[in-house]
Point group: D4
Chain length 249, copies 8
C-alpha cells in the first residue's frame, strides 16, 4: 500500500478523505462465510493461497478454488483424502490427485525456475507421504525437485550412494521419523540450507514425532532449521523461497 500516493491523491482531490481512510483500512479479502479468501496474498507473498483440506467439505473447497482462480493459475490442496479428491476431480477438469501425498493440484504448475533444484531426501518407506507433500508443493511453486527416498541413516551406504544428487542441490529437505538422524548426517555433508521435517512415523518412545523433532532441533550440524511434525508443505514452501532467493521481488 503506497501511503504517499494515497496522500497525494487526497491533496489533489482525486480521493475524498473518508475514502482514503476506508482504503487504508479496507478489507483486502472476499468473504465466503466459511473462509476469508485473500486476493492480495498472491501479490504480497508471491504464491497462491494454499488450501489446507483437512476438515473442509467439498463445497467449501470448491468455493475457495473458484474465488482464488481469479488471481492464480495453480492451486494446491493438501491433506485431502481420496474420497474428497474424486469429487473435486469430477467438478474440475484440470485437477490432479497424488494419492501418496494426499495432495491435489488444480491448474498448471509453473515451469521450474530458481537458482537450481531442491533435493527431497526421506528416511524410510513410511515417510513417503510427507516427503511427497513437500516435493509436490515445491514443484507447484515453480521448482525442480530431485527425490532420494528410503535412504535412512541405518543403511548409511544408501545415502552415500546418492551423495552427488544431495550435494548438488540449492537446498535439501530432510524428511524422517523415528530417530530423525537423517537431517544431522545431511547437514554435515552439504553446504546449503537443510529444512528438516520430523514425521509422526514410529511407535513407542517416538511419541508421534516428538523424538524426531527434538533430534532435529538439537543437531550439531550447521545450516539446519526445522518445521512442524509432518509439515511437508511448509518445508516445500520454504525450500522454494530459498531456491528463488536473490530474485527481484
Amino acid at each position: 500500500m503506497d501511503l504517499i500516493k494515497i496522500m497525494n491523491d487526497v491533496r489533489d482531490g482525486t480521493i475524498a478523505p473518508e475514502e482514503a481512510a476506508i482504503m487504508i483500512r479496507k478489507e483486502p479479502f472476499e468473504d465466503l462465510g466459511y473462509a476469508k479468501v485473500d486476493h492480495h496474498r498472491v501479490l504480497r507473498q508471491g504464491v497462491a493461497e494454499i488450501i489446507y483440506g483437512e476438515g473442509k467439505t467439498c463445497e467449501q473447497i470448491l468455493g475457495i478454488i473458484e474465488a482464488l482462480r481469479k488471481d492464480t493459475a495453480c492451486i494446491l490442496i493438501t491433506r485431502l483424502d481420496r474420497e474428497h479428491a474424486l469429487r473435486i476431480m469430477d467438478e474440475l477438469q484440470d485437477a490432479e490427485y497424488h494419492e501418496t501425498a494426499g495432495v491435489c493440484i488444480v491448474g498448471h504448475p509453473p515451469a521450474p525456475s530458481g537458482n537450481g533444484y531442491i533435493a527431497v531426501v526421506s528416511g524410510g518407506t513410511s515417510d513417503a507421504r510427507v516427503a511427497e507433500e513437500a516435493a509436490l508443493s515445491a514443484e507447484a511453486l515453480g521448482n525442480r525437485v530431485e527425490r532420494v527416498y528410503d535412504a535412512g541413516v541405518a543403511g548409511l551406504h544408501r545415502l552415500l550412494a546418492n551423495l552427488d544428487t544431495i550435494m548438488g542441490a540449492e537446498v535439501v529437505i530432510a524428511v524422517a521419523g523415528m530417530e530423525g538422524a537423517l537431517a544431522s548426517v545431511i547437514g554435515g555433508l552439504v553446504a546449503v540450507p537443510v529444512i528438516a521435517v520430523p514425521t509422526s512415523v514410529g511407535y513407542g518412545a517416538s511419541f508421534e514425532g516428538l523424538s524426531a523433532l527434538l533430534t532435529m532441533l538439537n543437531s550439531c550440524a550447521n545450516g539446519i532449521s526445522v518445521v512442524n511434525i509432518d509439515n511437508g508443505f511448509g518445508a516445500g514452501y520454504i525450500a522454494g523461497m530459498i531456491n528463488h532467493a536473490g530474485e527481484p521481488r
Copy 2:
C-alpha cells in the same frame, strides 16, 4: 574427493594402491588431543570452524584458533563469558569481544556480500543476547544486518513502525521468548524466509523456552522454520546461507 582422478593415478602408478586406500579413508583433520580441527571444513562448507566456547578452557580455545588460522581470516567464538574473553584478547590483538552477545570475533569479518540484507527482529529487551549472537554471526559470515529490537507483538505499533526495514530484507531472523508470537506476525507480513529463534527468556509456564518453541513450530504463517532454543548462531548461519543463495559454489 575426486575418486576417478585417484583411480587414474593408481593405474598410472603415480599413487600406490595402499596409498590410495589411505587417501580415501584419511582423516582430513588435525588432532589437538582435546578436539579435532577440520581444515577441510572451510572449503567444504564455505565458512570457518565456529568455536562453541562454553565448557572449553582458554588454552583449548587458543589452541583451536591457532590451528584454524591457517585456513581462515575470521573466527567466531560463541557463548564466551567476559573472563575468558579478556584473557583471549590479551593474547590476540585482533580479537574483539561483544559482551551482550557473549561473542568474540578474531580477525576481520569479510566485507558484506550476498543478495541483500538480513533483518534481525527481537521481541523484548531480554532477548538481546540471542539476537546479537545471531546478528554478529551473520556479519562475521559476510552479510549486512539490520537490527529491529524490542519490537514484540504486545506493542504491535512498534513492529509496524519498522515495517519497511523488515519487508525489505532477503531473510528475517525473529528472536522471541515468552509466547514467541513474533515469528507468526512477521511470517504473515513478509514474502521471504523467516528463521525463528525461541529464547529461554520468561518464567513460569514458559518452561525455559518450550512455550516459544512450540508456538513457532505451530505457526499458521508460511515460510517459517525454527532452530533450537537460544541458538542465535544457528539462525545467523542459515540466514547467511540464504542471503548468499544462488551464488556459484
Copy 3:
C-alpha cells in the same frame, strides 16, 4: 443463609432447636439419582445450571431440564451432538440447536444487558466451534456479542480491518489454536480484559492445544487470562460476568 434470623426464631420458639440444626445443614438441592440439581444456584450465582451434555443420555438431560425449569427461563446445553439435539427438540418446543457450536438453548435468552458488548475473535476457520460456543453462551447469559472470525495473526491485515469492533468492546474473547498468538496481539491493542481460549485445533507439535495454551499463558501483553483448552462456554461465562461488573448483586 441468615444465621442470626434463625437464631432469633429459635429463641422465640418459632423453630425448634433440632429443626434449626437441620436447616443449617439441609441439602439445598434436588436429587434425581443421576445428578443433584441445585435450585439455589440460580440465586447464588446469578445464572441457571448449565448442562454439560457430553456423556449424558437424552433422558438424563430432559430430567435435568425439567427440574431446572422451575427456577430459570433459559437453559444452555453444551457439547451436544446432532442426534441428541434432534431428540431433545422433539420433546421441547422451545429448544433450538446451533450445530456449529454443538450448543442447544432451551427457552428464551434474556434481552442483552450489561455495560457494553463482548467481542469474540477467532483465528482460523477450524476454531469456529469453540468461538460459537463462547458467543452463544454469552448471549444466553444476557450479553450483546460481536463476532470477528477467521482473523488470525498470520494475516494481520484481516485483524486490523476489524480494529474498531475489537477496540470498542467491554471485554474480548480470543479463540485460537495452533500457535495461539492472537491473544497477545489483541492484548497489545485493547485496554479491556481479554479472555484467551486455546483450542485443540492443529497437528504435530500443537499437542492438542498445549502449544496454544502455553503461548497464551506466557503472553507479554497485559490483561490476558486463560481458560481450559476448548472451553468456549467458560470464556463466555466469565466475559458475561465482566460485562455486567459494577451492577448491584
Copy 4:
C-alpha cells in the same frame, strides 16, 4: 489515531502528504537504547508502563523511570531484589519498597476507585510473595484491596471464616501453589470473576507450579480464568480492569 482527521488536514493543506504518511507510521515511543519507552501507552491502555525489574540494571531502571515520569504519577517495579531497591530509593525520594512482594512503587498511587474492592486470597504462608505482588499492583492501579492470606483448602474452616470478605468482592484473586484447589473452592462460592494465580511453591510432583496450573485450568467451577505461574502482577492488573469495568473510557 484519527485517520479521517489526518485526511482532512491533508486536504486542507494543514499537513503535507509526506508528513501524514510519516504520522501514520511514526514511532510513538522514545528510544533509550536498552528499551523503547512507550509514551502513548498510558493513554492507550489507561495505566503507566510497568517495569519488570528482573535482569535490568539500576541505571536502566532509573532511566526508564525518568522517561515515564512525564506521563504518569505512579510507576510500579516488579521482581526487584532488595539490593536494587535500596539503590533506587537512594536516588528517588518517593520510591517505597515492599520486600515480601519484591515490588517498588515510585510516586503516589491513585486514590481507590472502581465498582467495589478486590479480594486477594492465598493458600499458604509461602504464597505470600505472589499474593502481595497482586495486591500491591491492584492498589497502585487505583483499587481497594482486601487480603485473606493463609487460608488454604486443607484447613477449610479458615477459608469459611472469611466468607463475608470474599463474597463481598467485585473480583477475587486466588493465589495457591501445591494442589491449587483454592480457586475451585472459591469459584464454587462466589458469583464474580475469579483470577487464579498458580505459584511455583511446592516440591516433588508440584513441578514448579505445573500441578497448580493444571488444577486451576481444569476447575469445574464457573468464572475462573488463569494467569501464568507466579504472575501476581498480571492478576492484579486484570482484576483492576474488572473492578473498573463499565466506566467510560
Copy 5:
C-alpha cells in the same frame, strides 16, 4: 512356609532331602496356559485373585474362575464390558453384573466386617464408574460402604451437607477428575486416611487424569495417599485393608 518344620521332617526322615528342596522351590500356582492361577494367594494376602477383565476372552475368564473357585467364595471381575458380562452370566448362575462400574461379582460377598465403614465420595456425575468400582470392590472384600456422589468442590455446600457421613468413616475414598481438589478438601476435614483416586474424566488440559493426579499428590492436607488414574479397585482394596487393620492375621 515353615522352614524349620520342613527341616525337622528332613531330619526325621519324613521327607527326603530332594523332596524338601522341591517343596521350597515348588510353584504354588496352577498353570492354565494363558495365566498362572495362584492358589496360595488367598491365604497369603487374605482375598481372592481379582480378575482384571480387559483384554481377556470369555473362555479365559471362565477358566480362571473355575480354577479359583476351589479357594474362594467370591470372585471380582473388573473392567468387564456388557457383552462379556452377559455371556458369563449365562454360564454362571451366581454371577451379577454392575454395569455402571463395569464390575461382575461371582458368588456371595462376605458379610460386612471391619472396624467401621468406608465412605466413597465422588466429585461429578462422570466419575461414577470409578467410584462404583471402588465401592463394589470394597463390599466384595467384606466392608460396609457409604456412598456420597456428585459432591465436587465447585458446589461446596453439597459436600458439607454430607459431612456426618464422611466424618464418621474409618477411611474415605475420594474419587475426582478434572481438578481433583476433592481429596484436599476432605483431607482437611477428616482425621482418617483418605485414598485419592484421580479419574481420566475431563478434557483439554486435564490430560486424561494427569491434572487430577498431580493435584492429589501435591495436597497440603495430611493423610492422603494416591492410586493410579481410574484405579477404583485398588482404592477399594486398600480401604478394605485399613478398615480391617488391627485384626489378627
Copy 6:
C-alpha cells in the same frame, strides 16, 4: 461442633442468638501475622500441627512452637537445616535434631501405641533422608517403627533376608528412588497396606523422582498407595493413622 447443643443453649437463654452465630463462624485459630496456628486441629485430627521448616525463619518457627505448646506435648519440624536447628536447640532445651532426616523434635514423643509396628524399608543409601523423615514422624506420632534400609530390589536377597520384619508389620512404608521397584516387590509379599514414597534420588532419566513416582503408581501389586516425591512425613503420618485404625476416636 455440636450444633444441637448450641441450639438448646440458645433456646434456654444460656447463649444469645448473636453469640451463637459468632460461635458457629468464629475463627478457631490464633493469628501470628506470618501464620495462622490452629488450636482446634489437635483435637480435630488427633495430632499437633506439624511445622514445615523450609522457607521459615527461626523466629517464625519459634513463634509457632510457642503458640502450639498450649495444646500439644510434641512438635515435629521437618525440612530443617543444621544451622536453623542449632539456633532452635539453643532456645529450647527439649528440642532434638536428627541430621540425616533434617527433622527436629520438640518435647517428648508419646509412648508407642497402635495395633502393631510400622516397617520402613528403603532402597539405597541415598534414600536415607526420606526414610528417616518417615520413621521419625511415625515415632513422634506414637508408633513403634522397625527400619530395614539399603534393601533395594537390585540385591533381592538383602530384602528377602528381612522378610520376617517386613511381613510382621501392620503397615509398610517403601522408600525408593531410581526405578522405584521396591514398592511392587513388597506389595507382592505382604498382606497389609504399603505406603510408597518415591524419592528424587537418581540422575538422568529419573527426572528428579518422576520415574519412581510413575513406577509406584503403576504397580501391579495390590495394596499400594503413593505420596508425593520425597514426602517422608506424609507417609509416616498415614502409616500412623493406619496403625491406630480401629481405635475409638
Copy 7:
C-alpha cells in the same frame, strides 16, 4: 568392502578406474519402487532383512520377500495382522503365522546355535504379544529360547520358582509393562546381560509404556540395557547377537 583389493585390481588393470569408482559408490540394493531391498545386508550384518509389516500392503510384502529370497533361507515379518497373514500364507507354502506375536516366518529357521540359550521372561498375561515377538525373532535368527511368562514381581514367588531357567541363560530378555520392575529384579539375580523391553500395556499413569521405560532406564541393577517400547524384535535381535558373541565373523 576391501579397498586395497580394488586398488590392486585397478593397478593390475583387472578393473578400469571408472569401474572402481562406480564399485565404491555403487548402490548395493535393488529398487522395488516402494522399498530398497538390500542384498548386501545379509552379509554385512549376518541376518536377513526383517520386514516391518505395519503399513505395508500384501503386494509390497510379497514383493520384498521375493527379492530377499535370493539371499536368505528365512524371512521374518513382524507386526502383521491376521488378515494380511492369511493372504500371504495363501501365496507362500512355507509361511507360518504366529498370531499371539503378530509374526510370520517364511522359510526354515536355522538350527539353534550360539553359546547357550536365551531366556524370555514376561511380567503379565498382556505382555505376551511382545514377549512372543522377541522369542520368535530370536529363534528365527538361530537361537534356543526358554520362555518364562506371567512371572511379574507382584507375585515374586512365581519368578523365584523359575530361577534355574533364568540363571542358566546366556542373556535374558525381560518384558514388562505397568511398573516395569521385572528387569531390575532379574538384573539383581543374574550375571549375564539383560535386555529390557517396556510394553505399552497398562492404563492411567502408565502413559502407554513411558512408566515402564523410565523404570528400566533407572534400574539400580547392573547389566541392563533397554530397547524401545514394545520392540520385541529388537530385543530378540540383540539377544541373538550376544548369544553368538565370540564367534568368528
Copy 8:
C-alpha cells in the same frame, strides 16, 4: 546356594535343622551402618561392588573399600570429584584418579581378556567425561578398549575415517548428547551389539539428555540398546559382559 547339599547335611546330622533354616535366610552381607557390603556379589555376578561416589563422604568410601578388599583385587569408584579423590589417594597407595572421567581405580585392573575388544565412540568434545567413564569401567573389568572420540555425525568423514576400528570390535559403546544420531549411524554399519549412552550435554531443547535418549530408543538400526543418560559405567559393564559372552561361568 546348593539347597540339596544343605538338605543332605541336615539328614546326615551335619547341620541342625534350625541352623539350616538360618543358612537359607542368612544375610550374605556385612553391615557398615551406612551401607551393606555384599561379599557374595563378586561370586554371584563376577565383578566387585562398584562404588557410586556421589553423595558419599570420604570416610564412607574408605570404609566400603576396606570391606570389599577381602574379595576383590580391583575396585572402581565413579562420580568422584577431585577433592574426594585426592584424600582417597592420600590414604590408599594403589588408588589412581582419572579426572576427565571422575573415576578412581583402586588396585590393579585385571589383564584384558574376552573375545575381542570394545570400541568406545563419542560424538563431541563435551561427551568425553561419559565416554571415559565407560572406557575405564570396561578396562577395570578386564577388557581391551579402543577409543574413537570427537567423531559425531555432523562431520561424518571423521567417523568413516575410523571405520576399521569400529567394525572390528566385539561390541561398540556409542556416547552422544545433543541429537544422539551417532548410535544409529554406527548401528547401520556394524554387525555387533551397540550400547548407546545418551549424555546430558547440550542446551535448549536437548532437555538435559532427553532428546538424545529418545533418538537412541527410536533408532531404525538393529542391534542397539540404551542405558540411562550419562550412565557411562553401566555401558562399560554391559559391554564387558558381552565381550566375555560364551565363557564358562
